[in-house]
Symmetry: C2
Subunit: 119 residues, 2 copies
């Protein structure tokens, strides 16, 4: 299987696994959002519990320049570690959640074409 | 054009229009997320401004049972009104943001198969 296709499968499997835990209660819809054309993948819970509106994005991945970006993780799982266990090399995982200056020290990847501004 | 296809075009046009206003500054990416298989459509801004992580979903639409659901609107635009001006009948717009008990009084649509629990 092509590398990118494998990464897409990993992300989708992970989102399905994570979103399968039952939500609290009420009229909550767990949405798995797969934009395969632009490579955005999300899990969002939407709905009402009594008089409270729930709108929570738990996980958001992108694939950019051959790397998986973790843009959001509101789960208790170390998602980057799970991706590594699935066979994704750490240098192909970018922790979008960490500020750009920290990324070289995370043990994970860097954006492929990061702009370095010299002032 | 088929009704649902027209609704999809309206939503995508609206998302493109709304997200085209320039964002504040920093390294912010405006993402338009179109899951055309499950009919989820979002605009999310992601990135860093100095040491602050920005993750904001401004707009989220779904199409369910032939109706457009507005699940999130963090813009200053009356999105439902704009959809009406584009030719979507009010009864085909569901304000997900309003609690189910309020929806009959909004002047907009109701979910097609709303469960009514009699206790």
């Amino acid at each position: 299987m092509d590398k990118l296709e494998y990464y897409r499968q990993c992300i989708k499997t992970l989102l399905k696994m994570q979103s399968s835990y039952p939500s609290n209660s009420g009229d909550i819809e767990s949405q798995l959002i797969f934009d395969q054309e632009s490579d955005h993948y999300l899990w969002i819970d939407v709905g009402w519990v009594d008089l409270e509106y729930i709108y929570s994005c738990f996980l958001h991945f992108d694939i950019k320049d051959g790397k998986i970006w973790i843009q959001r993780n509101r789960t208790e799982t170390d998602i980057a570690q799970v991706l590594v266990e699935m066979g994704v090399p750490p240098e192909d995982i970018v922790l979008g959640l960490h500020p750009p200056y920290k990324r070289p020290y995370t043990g994970y990847g860097m954006p492929q074409l990061e702009k370095i501004s010299i002032e």
